[in-house]
Structures are given as structure tokens and as C-alpha cells.
């Protein structure tokens, strides 16, 4: 059996969420590697969009963020943010959106705006950018984040981007989608909307279930039989290692 790193497993897990022909909204970082890998393997006709108006960049170095001109290199189209966020995302044509998070709660609500310090003082961070729009309007959402107790909380201190809000159906609230998954360095999670809880979908090979539970700030729903996250295939790993620079997903 082939050996792989946790980051490689996360990239591959993210890539498999993308179907051929999907319109994908990503930022830079690990999800970008997932999107590129998907295009190079099972989803050659997927379209990768950056929110500020970039389609299918072919960069080998995405630099420091969306605003880095390295991230736009070799793009098939340079257009406007209204075109991408308005006329694709808002109109319902983005199939899957990848998001990061400072905190996520047991209902999949995402906070990228602030953290509460001890003593109740607030520290303000990046805020929404296109995050709220993507979480509200993409058909499916994948959140990629580090697994830490303080980041996976019973309730986030601020809902920047909605998951299942307070547990009602997203369509009733007026939001699109309803398929949300969380990929961490320990496990993959989905949501059981009936009982309003984050549920283990699979844990990564070599990770102990107790550690997942211990590092989560609320009670997870654990299915009777916990699956192992499907491992990368040799060909996925080969393409990832040969064709996608590590810096894209490890920085």
C-alpha cells in the first residue's frame, strides 16, 4: 500500500467531491490543489472560478492569495466579480464551493469574522469576502480546516457564512444547497439535519476515534460503524506529486 501525507489525503478527498463538468469556486491553498487534481483526473471539464473574476488559472504558484497576480496566470478568462459571483453563483450555476473557517459549529455555520478572547474581548479578522455568498448560494459546500477543539465549537461566536443556521431547512430560510461537508486533518463530516448535528462521515486512516471526539468542542454524532476515509489511489498520488507543486497545499 502506498504511503501518503495527511495533506495529500485532504487534497484527494476534496478533489473527489468535484464531479466532471462542475463549476467550482475556490480560494487559494489546499482546495485549489483539490480543484486542479480533479481536473487532471476524473473531472477534466470542471471549471475553476476565483471570485474576483478569474476562470481556470494554470499557475504553478498561487502566491499569497486571490489578489496575487501569480494566481491569475494562464487563466482562460479574466472577467468581473459581478460575472462570477452575480451571474454564476447568485443565479445558481456554481455546483460546489470550497471554504475555510476560523470556527465551525455543530450546525455547519462558519465564522471568519472574529474570535472571542478570554475576558470577552473581540478580535476582528478578515470577515466574509465572498465566503458568505458562496456558503449561501453554491449547491454544495466543502469546508476545509484544521481539526482543533477551539475551532470546532458548539456555537460559533459569529455566523459569517450560514450552514444550517438554527437547524431549519436551508430552502425554508431562503438559502440554496444543503449538502455541506467538512474535511479536517482527522476526519470527514456531514450533517444530519433532522437531529441538527455534525456527523462523522469517515475518519482518516491511522486516526483514533477517541482523538477526533477529544478534539471536537461538542458532541459528534458517531455512526454504529465508522468508515475509514477512502485512501488516495496510486495514480492520484502520482499526478498530485508530479504535477501539482506542494507549496500550493502546504503553505
Amino acid at each position: 500500500m502506498v504511503k501518503y501525507s495527511t495533506e495529500e489525503l485532504m487534497v484527494v478527498t476534496g478533489a473527489r467531491k468535484i464531479k466532471d463538468g462542475n463549476n467550482v469556486m475556490v480560494g487559494i491553498g489546499l482546495p485549489m490543489a483539490s480543484a486542479i487534481l480533479a481536473k487532471k483526473t476524473h473531472a477534466p471539464n470542471a471549471n475553476i472560478f476565483l471570485e474576483l473574476g478569474v476562470l481556470n488559472p494554470s499557475s504553478s504558484d498561487f502566491g499569497v492569495g486571490l489578489a496575487d497576480i501569480k494566481a491569475w496566470q494562464g487563466a482562460e478568462l479574466l472577467t468581473s466579480a459581478l460575472d462570477v459571483l452575480g451571474m454564476l453563483l447568485h443565479s445558481g450555476k456554481i455546483d460546489i464551493g470550497f471554504l475555510g473557517a476560523l470556527e465551525v459549529d455543530e450546525l455547519g455555520n462558519i465564522n471568519t469574522t472574529q474570535v472571542e478572547l478570554e475576558g470577552g474581548k473581540i478580535k476582528h479578522f478578515t470577515g466574509s469576502g465572498g465566503g458568505n455568498d458562496i456558503a449561501s448560494l453554491a449547491k454544495r459546500i466543502v469546508v476545509v480546516m484544521r481539526h482543533q477543539k477551539r475551532k470546532l465549537r458548539k456555537k460559533v461566536s459569529y455566523i459569517t457564512s450560514p450552514g444550517y443556521i438554527d437547524g431549519k431547512k436551508r430552502q425554508e430560510a431562503g438559502l440554496r444547497g444543503g449538502d455541506i461537508e467538512i474535511v479536517t486533518d482527522m476526519a470527514v463530516f456531514k450533517f444530519n439535519v433532522k437531529i441538527k448535528k455534525m456527523t462523522i462521515s469517515s475518519i482518516h486512516s491511522g486516526v483514533n476515534l477517541d482523538d477526533v471526539v477529544e478534539n471536537t468542542g461538542f458532541q459528534l454524532v458517531i455512526p454504529p460503524k465508522v468508515d475509514i476515509t477512502p485512501e488516495p489511489t496510486e495514480s492520484e498520488l502520482k499526478i498530485l506529486r508530479d504535477e501539482i507543486p506542494r507549496e500550493i497545499y502546504t503553505k
Partner: protein, 300 residues
């Protein structure tokens, strides 16, 4: 608005900023660390403009500089950062301390606000923001409202149109009629300039040939003041022209973490500089600018 096809003389940065009055509402066209109108922002700081309202879809170095220098009383923005170089330390600190009035949105809801302003609508329905604390706070201030479509019954949020007094953008090139060629992704510049009463455009070069009509992003008849300032977006990047200068942005991020260091940064780089070329001389070298330029050309 100017007459069609009128020849456009360029003005100095100082003359352009003279039209901005204390208390004006300005819109900025930069995004994080790209295409920031740094040259104009420095002059706004030098002229000590006060009580500005600033609207920007995704906050940038421009916004952070203006807030840090005490020029701003109110912001409308959709979040922002200096990408991996750091946070908008002054914007964040001022929100935490309540020293500015901040209305936080998402990127698309800001774009829709500009679009509404550009089309002469007073509001715009959007399907974002629902269920978020962004909406909860906006609603409590009367800035947004939930709404049902009278035809379909669908749920929406209504956000208010933005009608800034002055839009400030940096672009690559203009022709002598003031037609502006904006290379790279356009972000929301087209909506933002059309929502604004007056437009200041800073460009790297003014071409004596008239731009081909396919290249025009902002037509000359919309442009009120045209400024020529090479490297005017430095230390942020400009697609096709120069890469950002990580060293200077990191220096800025460090300075913005501490009021005393920031005061020093303002004095040394901005207030004591007579013009933008002096800032460039203090911050970088010709050799480095040439390197940043060659890097950007390679990325085309």
C-alpha cells in the same frame, strides 16, 4: 460627466485630491494587495482629509492606510485582508474599539450595492446574507431588510444602493480622451465607477494613440480627473506592470500593529514626502522596481 470625445488633460495627484472634501463618501477600486490607488491615498493623508466615508467591496491596503491615518469615520466593506502578509490591522482595531462606524457586508452584497447605485436604483434584492450575523447587525441598524418577492414569494434581503461622491481607481493605461484600459480581472470596478458622482483615475501610462474600443473598460466620458503616476499602486501589484513588493508590505503590516511604529511609518514615508516619487525613492530602488516589473511581465 464630460462631453464625449473631449481631450483630457491630466492633472497632478495634488489637484485630483483637492476635489475631495472632508466628510465626502469615496469608493476605492483596489482589492487586498492588488491595484490599490496608493498614490491618491498618500495625498489624501498628506492633505489631512477627515470624516470620510469609504466604501470598498473587499478591504485593501488603501483602506487600512486611510483608517490608520485618521481620515475615516465610516466604512462599508465586505471584509478584507492583505492576503497572507497579514490582516487589515487598523480596520480591525478600529472596529474592535468602535472608533469607526463599520458596516460589514459580503463581497457580492457590496457589488450589488454599487450596481444598484450605478443603475439609479435605491436598493437591490440579494439571496446572500440570510441567516448570518452580518444580516442581523445590518438589520439592527436599518441597513438591510428581509423581503419576500411579491410575485414568487421567494425570500430576499434588500440592501441599499451606494452613491459615493468620488470613485478612486488605479489602472494600467488611458488614452488622451481619458478612455481607461483596465487589464486583468475587473473585480467590481465597472459598477463602482458608474455608481459614483465623480471619478478619479490614476494610470501608469497615457497613450497618445486612441485606445481600440474593445480595450476600453471605463469610457473617457465618465472620467473626471486623470492622473499619470508610474508605479502609483506600489507596493501593491498591478497586473501586467509590476508584482507587489513583499518587503514593503511586510514593513507596513509590522508598522500597523503598533500606533507608535505606525506614526513613524506615516511620517517617514508619507507626510515627509513631497510627492509619490519621493515615497518610491525612500521605499525601493530602480533595480528592485525593474525586477518587480519583469516578474509581472513573466506572469502575463
Amino acid at each position: 460627466m464630460r462631453e464625449f470625445s473631449e481631450k483630457k488633460e491630466s492633472v497632478t495627484i495634488e489637484e485630483a485630491v483637492n476635489i475631495i472634501k472632508d466628510g465626502d463618501h469615496i469608493a476605492l477600486g483596489g482589492f487586498a494587495i492588488t491595484r490599490n490607488a496608493i498614490s491618491i491615498v498618500h495625498e489624501i493623508i498628506r492633505q489631512r482629509k477627515r470624516n470620510l466615508t469609504v466604501s470598498q467591496s473587499v478591504g485593501s491596503m488603501e483602506l487600512d492606510l486611510l483608517v490608520g491615518a485618521g481620515c475615516v469615520k465610516e466604512i462599508n466593506y465586505g471584509g478584507g485582508s492583505l492576503d497572507r502578509y497579514g490582516q487589515l490591522n487598523w480596520v480591525n482595531k478600529s472596529i474592535e474599539d468602535g472608533t469607526i462606524k463599520a458596516h460589514e457586508y459580503s463581497y457580492l452584497s457590496m457589488i450589488f450595492r454599487f450596481l444598484a447605485g450605478a443603475m439609479g436604483l435605491s436598493f437591490m434584492p440579494i439571496k446572500s446574507l440570510i441567516g448570518s450575523d452580518i444580516l442581523r447587525r445590518l438589520e439592527s441598524k436599518g441597513e438591510a431588510k428581509e423581503f419576500r418577492c411579491p410575485f414568487s414569494g421567494e425570500k430576499y434581503v434588500l440592501v441599499k444602493a451606494l452613491k459615493p461622491d468620488i470613485a478612486v481607481i488605479h489602472a494600467q493605461k488611458a488614452d488622451s480622451n481619458g478612455n481607461v484600459f483596465l487589464m486583468g480581472p475587473k473585480f467590481e470596478v465597472q459598477e463602482l465607477v458608474r455608481a459614483s458622482e465623480k471619478i478619479i483615475v490614476v494610470v501608469e501610462e497615457i497613450s497618445s494613440d486612441i485606445l481600440s474600443h474593445e480595450s476600453v473598460t471605463v469610457p473617457g466620458y465618465l472620467v473626471d480627473l486623470l492622473v499619470h503616476q508610474p508605479f502609483g499602486a506600489y507596493p501593491t501589484n498591478l497586473y501586467g506592470y509590476y508584482y507587489q513588493d513583499p518587503e514593503h508590505i511586510k514593513l507596513y503590516v509590522e508598522s500597523s500593529k503598533d500606533p507608535e511604529k505606525f506614526e513613524k511609518y506615516l511620517n517617514e514615508y508619507i507626510l515627509s514626502s513631497d510627492d509619490f516619487f519621493e515615497f518610491l525613492r525612500k521605499s525601493t530602488t530602480l533595480k528592485r522596481l525593474a525586477y518587480l516589473e519583469s516578474l509581472a511581465k513573466r506572469l502575463l
